[in-house]
Structures are given as C-alpha cells and as structure tokens.
C-alpha cells in the first residue's frame, strides 16, 4: 500500500498554489489534511504527478461568526469545529453532524475544504453544505468566485471545481434563535461512513407552524440530496406525529438508492425514512 511517486510543493501564497495546480493541466492535486486523498493514493485510485500542500496558506484556518452567518476557512479541521464552543449556538446542526465524522486521529487532520472537494456521497460536510444553502468560495486561475452548494456536488467524488481551483472558505447562512433542527445518522460502527443520514431544520411562524423547512440526506445517491417533497409536507403545518409519519413516507418515496455491498436499495430507502422521522421528532421535541 505504498504511494505512487509524485512531486511535492508547499507554496506560501494562494496565487502560487493556483499557479502550481494550473501548470500541471489537471495532473496536480491539492492536499489539505490528506485523510481522504492519501488513502486514495495508497490504493492507487489517484496518481497525480504533483501534490500542492495547502498547509502554509494563511487565512484559511479561521472560524468567523457574525450576523452574516458562519464562515469556515477551508483548512478548518473537524477538531477545530468540535473545540469551538460558539458553534453550540451559532450552528448546532453543523456541530451535531461533524460529531459523526471519522475518528479522533482523523479529526485532528481532516478539513472542511478537503471533505467538500473530495465529495464522498456519504460524507457529512457536503450534506450540511447542501442542506444549509452554503456558498463555497473558490480561487482559481480566472480569479475568485462563489459556487452555490446546490451546484457544487455533481456526482460521486465529482464537484464543480476545475483542476486549478482551491476552496478558500464555506459560508453558512446565519442560524436564527428558535430554529428547530435534527440530525440523525446510521453507521454500523461509530466513525464509519454513514449508511445514510438526515439533516432537517425548520423555523416556526407565530402560530407554531413550520416554514422554511430544509431536509437533506446523504448516503442514498451519488451526492447529497435535498428532499423538496418532504419539505412540502412540513411547510405550513404543525409538526405532529401525523405529519412526521407523512414526512417519513415522503422521504422513502423521494429517494432511489442503489444496492451495494453495505445495504440493499430497499434497506436504504427504509433507513432514510426512519432517519428523517427521528430527526423530525428531535426537531419537534
């Protein structure tokens, strides 16, 4: 399980990093924490000719919280999110989801930007980015631009990034006080990739009815999914047992998972319904 040969560069500025990636015309890869990329290299599923290490780039490690929302630098580690107590109130859904990522040692190295760029269909961060309408700020040879999460994830391990582009930060909208939310994940062992997970949130109008419902799931397709059919069941209604049961059924009907070595399609379909149900029960409690 030894890695294939590659060149290595450790630039100190973002323009330098972009230039290094661009010059190899698609054969270079950025490396952040390496917790997803290095196993790919070990399995020889990826054979870049150059790794561009992002670790010396300043300004990518901050967590900024303001009335504009929560902004995570691309090199923010799972560990940093876990340690930041402000996020308990500033973005409890993010905190809850990230608590499921991998294991202690991986959490000390793995990064937000790395997870988004890697785009594993069962990864939590892409699911949160999509569910929360995140904006992903990116820099490449044609300059800086922002990609909506809804446009970012294009397939298994496939994103809208071009080979010269580096994620610099992810911007999550502000999280209002009083928002209802739930996150439920199932994995056979703690820290395994999710077999499926559901992230839900909604706000309430003055009559206690749900509005602005967002329901996202991971692990059931080649990318994270929003479930507008389920959101439609919730919006305008009080979230009681009957509505939750309807939402569970709508969630199972809305997904079309494949059979794989971990679970059958039927199992995943049922699992998604159950996880949405549990997440809604938590939200409504």
């Amino acid at each position: 399980m030894k890695l294939p040969p590659f060149d290595y560069a450790c630039p100190t500025t973002l323009p330098e990093a972009v230039q290094l990636l661009a010059a190899r015309d698609g054969d270079a890869k950025a490396i952040a924490g390496g917790q997803s990329l290095v196993p790919m290299l070990a399995f020889r599923l990826a054979q870049p000719t150059l790794l561009v290490d992002l670790r010396k780039l300043a300004d990518l490690r901050g967590i900024k919280i303001s009335e504009k929302g929560v902004t995570l630098g691309a090199m923010v580690r799972w560990r940093d999110i876990e340690d930041d107590e402000r996020l308990d109130t500033a973005h409890p859904l993010l905190k809850a989801a990230i608590a499921h990522v991998a294991h202690y040692q991986v959490r000390n190295r793995g990064t937000v930007g790395g997870s988004l760029a890697h785009a594993d269909p069962a990864a939590e961060m892409p699911g949160i980015a999509l569910t929360c309408d995140a904006k992903i700020a990116v820099v490449g040879k044609s300059g800086a631009h922002v990609i909506q999460a809804a446009d970012f994830f294009q397939g298994a391990l496939t994103t809208a990034l071009t080979p010269d582009e580096i994620i610099v930060e992810i911007r999550l909208p502000p999280w209002p006080v009083g928002r209802r939310w739930g996150f439920e994940e199932f994995a056979r062992r703690r820290g395994d990739f999710a077999m499926a997970a559901a992230a839900v949130f909604y706000d309430q109008d003055e009559n206690g009815k749900a509005r602005n419902a967002h329901v996202g799931v991971i692990g059931v397709a080649d990318r994270p999914l929003r479930l507008p059919a389920v959101e439609g069941v919730l919006n305008g209604r009080a979230i009681d047992a009957a509505i939750i049961a309807k939402a569970e059924a709508a969630a199972s009907a809305a997904v079309d998972p494949q059979d794989d070595i971990h679970a059958s399609a039927a199992y995943r379909r049922a699992l998604v319904g159950t996880l949405v149900e549990r997440a809604l029960k938590r939200a409504a409690a």
Binding site: F6, Y8, R189, G191
Partner: protein
C-alpha cells in the same frame, strides 16, 4: 527532498521521496519501529503518533509534511529505565497480547489523557474507536487507560507522565 523536524525531543534531518509516509520514515529512516503499520490506509490506528500535540495517523501523513514539527512516538513516552504510567497500567490490566496495536493505543491514550485527564469510560471508548485490536476485546485496554488517568491529573508533576522518577 530534505526534511527537518524533531522526533522525541531530538532534531533529525532526512532525505526522502515526497511519497514516503511519516510512518515509513520513522520506521525505515529513523529506525523507530515502535510505530507499526497495519493497514496503510488510515483505518487501524496502529501507526498513531503525536504531531505538534495531536494524535495523527502517520500512514496518512507524508514525511515532507512534518517539516518543522514536533513528533512524539511511542519510544518517546518513556525513558529507557522505566515504563511510563500508561505502560505500567497496560501491563497491570493485561491490555496487550500480541502487542501489534499497542503502540497506537498508547500514543492515542497519551494524547487523550494529556488533554482530558478527567475523561470517562465513554469518552475513552469513543477516542479509541479509531484503533483496532484483534486480541484483547478492548475491555482491558479501556480499564488500563482509565486507571492511568491519575498520573495525568494537574496536581501531578510533569515528570510523572514520563518514566522518570522524581
């Protein structure tokens, strides 16, 4: 490429290919074979070392990424004469059989206890969930780590955490 970093308190400089993992660098270039390689793809934890205070999978780090860092391996947790408190506790609780996972268990536990000396059994289990053991069934390992907490409590002097006798 030339890489310079500190290992167990000593400055080292090695000449390596970029693709060499930190695990292989420690084992082959520095002859520190206490760090074990089990899976070489980041799931078993046998290769755990502590880099700049954080437990990491050394099979998922390139040696070139350790430039300027402080690396602590299992060899650095005790001096030659005495076992560290964690090592003594592992011995007392029969927390190893073949010993293959043991360096990773001990470095991970050392990192945990250094940061969270009051951790409970649930937290120990959570943190060690990234380290696989085929022999022991884990119970003795958890008990050994819990029993070693006493040596990491703030009122203990720093030297108690290594094998040094005061």
């Amino acid at each position: 490429m030339s890489v310079r970093f500190r290992v167990n308190g000593q400055e080292v400089e090695v000449e390596v290919e970029p693709r060499l993992t930190l695990a292989d660098c420690l084992r082959h270039h520095l002859r520190l074979t206490g760090t074990h390689v089990g899976c070489e793809h980041g799931v078993c934890g046998a290769c755990t070392v502590i880099v700049d205070g954080a437990a990491v999978r050394s099979c998922l780090m390139l040696a070139v990424q350790a430039e300027g860092s402080e690396v602590l391996t299992v060899e650095g947790l005790s001096n030659d004469a005495d076992l560290s408190p964690l090592q003594k506790s592992f011995r007392k609780h029969h927390a190893l059989q073949c010993g293959f996972c043991t360096p990773g268990m001990i470095t991970t536990a050392h990192a945990l206890l250094s940061e969270e000396p009051h951790c409970d059994a649930a937290r120990v289990r959570e943190v060690l969930s990234g380290n696989l053991c085929r022999c022991t069934g884990y119970i003795s390992i958890v008990e050994a780590v819990l029993d070693a907490r006493a040596a990491y409590q703030p009122k203990a002097s720093a030297s108690d955490r290594s094998g040094d006798r005061a």
